[in-house]
Each structure stands twice: as C-alpha cells, then as structure tokens.
C-alpha cells in the first residue's frame, strides 16, 4: 500500500491504542490497522475504521458464514453487495427488495426508531432506481400484557404508519409475535420492494476518475451520532443516556428525495447513487469508492450542517436521516442540479473521484483522514467456535410422550386463538395505508402473502416475511430452513412462483459459543433450503447483540439473548394475476383437501 499523503503528523496519536474500544475496535484490530497502515491512525481515522469494521457495516462475524448461501440464478439481476438485490420478473421488469432491522433504536424510542427504519430501507430501494411499492414489517415483542410491550407496540406501529403512510408506500404484510425473550429487546424488521425497468437499474458506485460527488437532502446534525457503533453494542442502561443516538425521520423530505432520485436516474444523469445509512457519510462514500476501485477526496467544510461547531468526527459519522450521495454523469451536472431544484432539494458538491486508492478527507485546509479504501471495506473476519447449548439440546430431546394430552381440546383451541401471536392483526395493519398506489390486490388478512399488480401488465408480485423463532430456538438448522419453506408455501398459496429471498439475521452476542452455533446452523439451514427451492439470497441484514442484562434474584446478573430470529423475506411472481388465490372458503359444498404428510 502506498501512501501519497499523511494526515498532519500532529494529529497522529500512538497512544490511541489505550482507547481503541471507544472507537469500536478490539486491541487486536487496532494492531492490525497499525500494521496495515505502517503508522498510527489519528482519532478520526480510528473512529472511521471502527465504524466501517463494525458488524453493521463490515459484517465481520457473519460474512464468513455467508458462503453457505446460493446467490446466483437466471432470475437474479443483482445479487448481494449493492443497496438491495434485484430479481427479474419478466416483461422487462425487475423487483428490488431488501430487509433491514431497526431493533436497538426502536427499543429506545419506538416511534422514531421504527419510522427511521422504514426510511432507511426505502432509500436502499430507490437508490437502485426502483420505485418502492410495498413494505412488510416483521415485529417481535415481549409479554403482551406488560406496560412496556404496550408502549413499544403502539410506538413501533405508530412509527411505521407515520413514515410509510406519509411517503405513500403501502404496508401490505408482516408478522407480529410475542415472546418473553424480546421483552427488553424488540425486533423491528422492515422489508421493502420496488419496481424498476431493467434499463433503470442504478448502482452505488463512484464511476470514473474526475466525477464529482454530490450531497443531497437534509443537513447534517449531531443526531444519530455513533448509531453504527451503538447498534453493535450491548443494550444497557447506558443507552438511555446515549441520547444523540436517536434520529428523527422526515417522510416529507424522503418523498422529495425519492421523486428526485428516480427522476434523475430515469433521465440518465446519475452515474452512481447511494443513501447515507449506518455510519452516514463515511460508509456511503467509502463503499461507492470501493465498488469503483478508486479513491476520493472530500472536503468536510462543504458538508451542509444543521448545527454550528460540528467537528470532522461528527460530520463523518452522523446518521442524520434523509441524505443521499449522487454522482452525476460527467457533463450533465447542471441537468441534475436543475432537476433537484424543482424538488426544492439543496445540493452541494463535496468532493471528487481520483486516481489514488485512498479515502481522503480535508478539513480547514488539512488532510484529516487518508486511508486506503480497500482497508476500510475489508474488515477482518472472524470465524468462531459454535457450541450448542446443553439446555436447548435437552429441551429438543425431551420425550414428548410424557406430556399429558389436555382433556378439553376445545378450551385449548380457544386459548390458542386468543393468544396475541395468533389472533387477528387487524388493529395493527389498519393503521397502515395498505392501498396507496392502487396496486394492492391481496390485502393483509386476506392471505398469507400480499399480492401487488404491475400496472400495464397481467403480472403480479407476491411477498411475505416469515420466521418461527421458537422453532429456530429448538433447532436452528431445521427452524431456519423451515422459515424459508414457510415463506415459499405462503407464496405458493397465493399462486406465486418463489424467486428469491432477503433475510434479516437477528441474534444475540456472537462471542458466546451457543449464539454463534445458532448463527452457523441457521445460515446453513437457510442456504440448503434456498438451494432446494431455487430461491437465491440476494441480500440481507445482520443484527447482533440482541440481548439484555437482567438481575438474578441473588443480585448477580445474567444476559438474556432473544430467540434466534432469522427473518426471511421472499418475493415471487404470478404470471397472470387473475389466477391468484386467497385463503377464505369460497362457497358451500366445496371440498377441502389436505396436501403433504
């Protein structure tokens, strides 16, 4: 690795190693960084590396497992690695789709946590050049009777409803389940789908040398600062004090960004586009540079700010919402700016693409960060030893013949039907606009998958999200494979052919062998099921450290992890939407059949 510039030596600080952890780096990671750089980083650089190597951005614990996933197939237009995967549905149409979690932010501030989750996943979709046309939400909460759960359910539903309804994308399906393991750490997984013409498929790249880098959307504030690190940290009382980690979303601003971005892509004036998600400005620009295999120089003085006195660390890592990076097609910059002005969006040129392969940031005339793009994007990978928990093994092997069969099965049925996990979700999905865009043909409640028409064609797109975490808890391999199979059955039941999946892997702390075992097994199970069903994995999201600390009666503490929850989002196509099926009985005298064993 060659070094063209070095940040001002006075900024370098070898003693940073003692506080590597505050940047989200393990001591060994800090040492690795120094040996690759052949110098010490400055604090900004350490923080940037920490963010890029976090689980959220760098997938350091999960990526090695992903080799179990099939990712290719004739239907795959875009596999993992971009903002979202894209499948071909025929007639020149493609569907971009992805799932993302906002678990930790929702535990702290359910309304805004869930709302910004919707905003983030929608940006991933329209950054691909696809118009978002459906959202599904997979939600897990603790004891339904507890005040905390009521507060969380109401807040999360309010947040999803607030954001999705306002921006005008229908929420067409999802899941809501309750189990005590989610009491302190709810799961909020949101999947979005977008429709695009093949020729409009956009990429998150910097393009070529000489291109300018343009910042569009909301100004940068201190909100959501350190969110990427926060999402990978244990949830404890400290996060209550971790106030700036809360981000507030503005669906109106996002609507402007959505329309403007799609218009720009359709007009052919953008060479690259990406949203600023976790680790904000840094991760978006850094990933775009990596995909182009080029370097960039950006001037942090030009980043539009909402507050005064912001320093590089804040400018780089803020997770303020509703911001995008666009790279105009050379020579067509003005066209892009005019188009953005129509939507009253401010644009600022903050940098350019260069020959070198570094990620270089300037501030007040000085180089404050100069790191190889590859180093930032190639996080160390960890393969750990997974060991099954003895208690779970025993539970699985329990002899069920010793469990007495209840005498009054009618009562059991009633009890089951009244459990919030099984009972109707109408009070929840009625708070979502399920129909805006006038494409939703099979609405929530009418079947186990939603079906949207494609205007101007006879095709339909079906989508579902599924996982039974109790099953995964008992046997992560079989349980995760079953989630894929359930999703495929749900699509088949509306008459759709399954095409591909996205996943959201929600687990506890991967450093714990029994948690790592669950991840390993679940990923294998998903991979094998996807191979069997010919539904490749086109993208997904990982959320680890879903756990909380609880006091034992004797005053000691124990860590409670959630049930392992690999949520599967699956997309399918109906060549002829008039052939769709729903689950209601259709008339007297019809026959009921049982298929399968």
């Amino acid at each position: 690795m060659t070094q063209t510039h070095t940040p001002n030596p006075s900024l370098l600080n070898p003693s940073l190693r003692t506080r590597a952890a505050t940047f989200g780096l393990a001591d060994t990671e800090y040492d690795l960084l120094v040996s690759q750089l052949e110098r010490h980083p400055n604090a900004l650089e350490a923080a940037i590396v920490g963010a890029m190597w976090s689980e959220h951005c760098g997938y350091k614990n999960s990526r090695p497992l992903f080799s179990a996933f099939p990712t290719t197939g004739p239907q795959v237009l875009q596999g993992p690695g971009e903002n979202a995967g894209v499948v071909d549905i025929g007639e020149g149409w493609g569907v971009a789709f992805k799932m993302e979690s906002h678990n930790h932010p929702s535990a702290v501030e359910p309304v805004q946590g869930a709302a910004t989750g919707v905003g983030g996943i929608l940006r991933d979709i329209f950054a691909m050049g696809a118009r978002p046309f459906a959202v599904l939400d997979s939600l897990r909460f603790g004891d339904p009777e507890s005040p905390r759960t009521k507060f969380l359910v109401n807040g999360v539903v309010e947040g999803i409803s607030h954001y999705g309804n306002a921006i005008g994308v229908p929420t067409v399906g999802g899941e809501v389940t309750f189990h005590p393991s989610y009491q302190e750490n709810p799961l909020v997984n949101v999947m979005a789908l977008g429709l695009l013409r093949h020729e409009d498929l956009a990429k998150g790249t910097m393009g070529e040398v000489g291109n300018v880098i343009v910042y569009v959307g909301s100004k940068t504030g201190r909100d959501g600062l350190g969110g990427a690190v926060f999402a990978s940290a244990d949830l404890s009382d400290a996060s209550q004090a971790d106030r700036p980690a809360v981000q507030v979303g503005d669906p109106f601003m996002e609507k402007l960004l959505l329309e403007a971005t799609l218009e720009a892509i359709e007009a052919g004036v953008v060479a690259g586009v990406q949203d600023m998600g976790a680790a904000g400005l840094v991760s978006s620009t850094c990933e775009m540079a990596y995909r182009a295999n080029l370097g960039i120089t950006m001037n942090l003085d030009d980043v539009p700010t909402r507050e005064t006195g912001m320093v590089p660390m804040e400018l780089c890592l803020s997770e303020s919402q509703e911001r995008m990076i666009l790279v105009p097609v050379p020579g067509r910059e003005q066209e892009l700016y005019d188009l953005l002005a129509k939507w009253e969006l401010d644009v600022v040129q903050i940098g350019q693409v260069e020959e070198h392969h570094n990620y270089r940031l300037m501030w007040k005339g000085e180089v404050v960060c100069d790191l190889p793009v590859a180093l930032l994007n190639e996080a160390p990978k960890y393969t750990r030893e997974g060991v099954e928990s003895e208690a779970i093994k025993a539970a699985r092997e329990r002899d069920l013949s010793s469990v007495p069969v209840p005498t009054d099965l009618g009562q059991v049925l009633l009890k089951l039907l009244s459990h919030p996990t099984i009972a109707s979700k109408r009070p929840i999905f009625e708070r979502y606009d399920q129909q805006v865009m006038t494409n939703t043909v099979v609405l929530p409640g009418a079947a186990d998958a939603a079906v949207m028409r494609v205007k101007g064609s006879s095709m339909g797109v079906a989508a579902t999200s599924d996982c039974n975490p109790r099953f995964v808890q008992l046997d992560p391999y079989v349980g995760a494979a079953a989630a894929v199979a359930e999703a495929a059955r749900n699509l088949a039941c509306v008459g759709a052919t399954p095409l591909a999946i996205t996943d959201n892997l929600n687990f506890g702390n991967p450093h714990r062998p029994e948690v790592y075992y669950q991840m390993q097994q679940a990923v294998q199970g998903i991979g094998d099921a996807c191979r069997a069903l010919n539904t490749p994995v086109t993208g997904g999201n990982v959320s680890l450290y879903n756990q909380y600390v609880e006091a034992n009666p004797d005053g000691t503490q124990r860590t409670v992890a959630i049930h392992p929850t690999p949520t599967i989002g699956m997309v399918g196509v109906l060549p002829d939407i008039s052939q769709r099926a729903t689950l209601g009985l259709k008339g007297e005298g019809q026959m009921l059949y049982l298929l399968g064993e």
Partner: protein, 92 residues
C-alpha cells in the same frame, strides 16, 4: 391561609425537542412561511399541555414534575418545563 391546603392547580407543560434533534415540523413550517413571504428563523414546534391537579402545593409540584418528565415527554429526545398556578375559581 396555610400553604399546605388542598387546592386546585392549573398546570401548563411545554414539551420541546432537544436542540440537537431534527425538528421536521419546524423545518417545514419555516419553509412554508417563507413561501408565503414571511421571513422567520429558528422555528421549533412543540407540545403545550394544560391540565388541572388537586392537592397541597408541595405534593402537587412533585407529582407534576414526575408526570412531565416521565409521561408527558420522552427524555430521550425532548426537553420539558412547566408552570403551576392556583386555578382561578371562575374561568378568566
């Protein structure tokens, strides 16, 4: 009259977003006002809650503080302040 008599109090609670938190409402209102030819700045939109409580002043004060800080506002992103006065016997 002794201070610790039971009375009806009128409380006014003001909830505002913390300064570092984005206020989309304020931003839009500011932008809209400027479209209408009104130059204003620093618009922040918050909540204004009126309520009545009964009790002795000291006890009412501490109940109000508790409610304001823990129920009427979300300390994660909002600031809250309040005013308390004896309720007028007849509406002003």
């Amino acid at each position: 009259m002794p201070q610790d008599q039971t009375k009806t109090y009128q409380a006014k609670v003001f909830v505002t977003l913390k300064p570092s938190i984005l206020d989309p409402q304020g931003r839009t209102v500011e932008r809209s006002l400027s479209h209408l030819g009104q130059q204003v700045s620093g618009v922040r939109v918050g909540k204004y809650i009126e309520l009545q409580l009964e009790g002795e002043r000291g006890e009412v004060e501490s109940r109000l503080k508790d409610m304001a800080e823990n129920v009427l506002s979300n300390p994660v992103m909002e600031n809250v302040r309040w005013e308390l006065e004896e309720a007028a016997l007849e509406p002003a």
